[in-house]
Symmetry: D2
């Protein structure tokens, strides 16, 4: 019996920039229910964003903002020691820009998932976690729209968001190994990323049926996830996404966005 009726599948999209391409946006749009779309600070020129947003709208995929530190050269993967005020303003700027492009593509931004180093900061850096939530609060006050904040379980920013009534959906990773405490094994360690598709399918099937994930030492972790994060920038991205979908469907779990 499925632990839950439905779950979301999310992936990062819109990460091309000018003449540089990244990811397989059209293929992934056929697989996910939610697309985290770059906002221009780590990737995503406005013309590419419009194209991606239109494709997401046509595919019926829910759109989320994927803001980042201002760092094209580092693809937003490097921590930048911004002040809280500038970070809040940077996030609000990105969110607003993407939401305007989304509206012109007949959709809207329905949630936010910070990118790269900013995603990590939302889990462990008090000042930046607060700054991101402040941007969501400012957006909510200005527009009346309270956007959910998608992060991994245990994020600092989720604690702050929850106190303010901002929804705090949680995600798990289909292809990452977990530590017994529920955190991810660092990418620098061997076995951190699972590339064997049947193993990924088994993980998702177990999660769908029992609501548990087996950590690297065998510990059974009870996790409540609203979304499963897929990666779109690997050669096997399509095959893995299909395996995850099949595992969910086989367990009677439908794929629907949380937002």
């Amino acid at each position: 019996m499925a632990a839950q009726h439905s779950i979301d599948l999310n992936a990062d999209l819109g990460e091309s920039f000018g003449s540089w391409s990244m990811g397989q946006d059209s293929a992934m749009l056929g697989q996910v229910s939610s697309a985290n779309i770059a906002c221009g600070f780590h990737a995503g020129d406005p013309q590419a964003l419009r194209t991606t947003l239109q494709a997401a709208a046509e595919a019926g995929v829910t759109v989320g903002a994927h803001p980042a530190y201002r760092d094209l050269a580092g693809f937003g993967r490097r921590f930048v020691d911004a002040s809280a005020e500038e970070l809040t303003a940077d996030v609000l700027y990105q969110l607003s820009a993407l939401d305007g492009l989304a509206a012109a593509a007949s959709t809207r931004v329905r949630y936010i998932k910070p990118h790269g180093a900013l995603y990590h900061a939302c889990h462990s850096h008090p000042g930046h976690a607060l700054a991101v939530v402040d941007a969501l609060s400012a957006f909510a006050e200005a527009t009346g729209r309270v956007l959910p904040l998608l992060l991994a379980p245990g994020a600092l920013a989720h604690q702050i968001a929850a106190e303010r009534g901002i929804p705090t959906p949680q995600e798990i990773f289909a292809d990452r190994a977990y530590r017994p405490d529920g955190t991810l094994v660092s990418r620098r360690e061997p076995g951190a990323v699972v590339t064997h598709i049947p193993a990924v399918a088994e993980t998702i099937q177990r999660y769908a049926e029992e609501g548990t994930i087996i950590a690297e030492d065998g510990t059974s972790l009870q996790i409540q996830a609203d979304s499963i994060c897929l990666h779109g920038d690997t050669p096997s991205a399509g095959a893995m996404a299909e395996a995850v979908r099949a595992a969910l469907t086989g367990a009677g779990v439908s794929i629907e966005s949380f937002a």
Copy 2:
């Protein structure tokens, strides 16, 4: 008797970037009825934009978007041969970002005035004039808000905008010399910029009373202006703005935004 009851005064604001300052924003907010606020592509980091937008809202000054080519190093003063598609997307991105920051500052973007080389392109470059109007159309369709496009008389983009029902307010320059055909004397020619404040005051007084501007060869030009452009980045900016306001008030013309 005044040629018209009211007119707008506009100036460029929010053109600082990070640690670099430009202009005297707070002083100018006390003088103008409309502020053209940078959107991040030629100037204006998000934090500075928030501060400027809040100050404009508090001062009761109407906010306009001042989008530009993506060119920080050139301050948007250099023509960039962008494709129409990327330019439309770039303008829509900037407009949306500023409008979101404005909403968070309890105001909204109420018009658009392109900056620098993009302003000039709107007067004479068919592809880019069309691209800017396309951005306004997309914004109108997405939000239901039809933003006026502020340009000088005779702009190509105004012809296109008028056909689509987009308002086309016109501006004159308080401190620039005019050619007999109604265009500005190029800044490369002597006498292009008038720095003598009494001369500027006299120009504005005549315009306020008679609706005419005297070109450099003595020709009397009949111009219908909705706004007067002031410059905020010169040492005498404050004194000149006050002289312009006094000339208008003395002629019985009130200062009100067109938007």
Copy 3:
């Protein structure tokens, strides 16, 4: 009998940026005798440039600087109306940066080939053509090294360079159609780019044997070329490069850098 004993093969390299890849640098290094290496303004982060320069040095490929307008979002393909002074400084900055990285990779910059829109400006824009040559003159005066300027036949910048004693090597394109006047058919027209490898091979063979290229209307063009430009960013780049090399070798023309 070959029209000349040797000719150079050149291609653009080092055009990745941060997390974005472009081109097949290692494959092309096995084919060309000269590599035009990006300098950071349209592409090429410093770390990627070091890697490319080291690989070029190890492969014995001559290194040239490939400077551009400051335009990452446009990949240097958009004309930017820079002033002559800023363009000269921009080119000298890029040239110096690449030359320093080259020295640290045990090679040096031995020629310059402007990129994209700047390449085109060197053929037809008097101010920018002069500005680029001024950068070469300043470099020569500072270092004692007079770098050849690689362009297509008939370039304005070549006239200026020649007057100053700067070498003016000329290149032809293996895969582009020519007009009867010796200029390239615009990429916007059908048939501008030749993708049929045997046709390219035949073009190069004829050039190698007779020193002529057949224009699209059948006119036989007499061209003196020092280099043949290959493109590294197409799927068939490797196969086409091999076909060009074979055509040259078969005609008794050896492949050597001009610089």
Copy 4:
């Protein structure tokens, strides 16, 4: 009796960018013996750098490179968690670019002083301290020129540099309060920056005569400094520089660059 015969005065220059100005470069060139010149990553467009370099050469002021993290929006004052490899390449790129522009202005880069957050990282971040020294080693190997690395006493990067035979000149700050352990009082604390010119003059006079600086708690610190850092971006910068010069001259210490 003076503790030493001569000392250097250094200040940051060339920190304008495009249309944005910063500092009073020409005034400071009349005061200092060494100029730390921006390299384009936190400030300094190439044209402004050429102008500053020419002025420094004409004034007989020694030129140093002032490289930074790639962060225009943050003016290089924000830590960026770059990898060691990209940081070494970024520093080498900046150093080479500035050195080329310097050569074209008839001078050369004679030392390096990292800027802002990178300066701080050189004192306390092992990976980044090593990365900066690696850039100097690569530069030395490529050019035969071993550039001194100017930092505050006790810098991690100085330990690494010393092991490699790279000179490690030390600087003190004319207008900053010191802790008893010889480090600076944080700018976030009251009294961190001394603006009272007679107090600054007295500090420098004591240092010149006795080689000591009095910490905020009265402790007498024995410091061996090769240079005194002045700030050029305050209204009283000129007056303070003159007071420092007078204090040194009065104590019989001449002002000469260490490089």
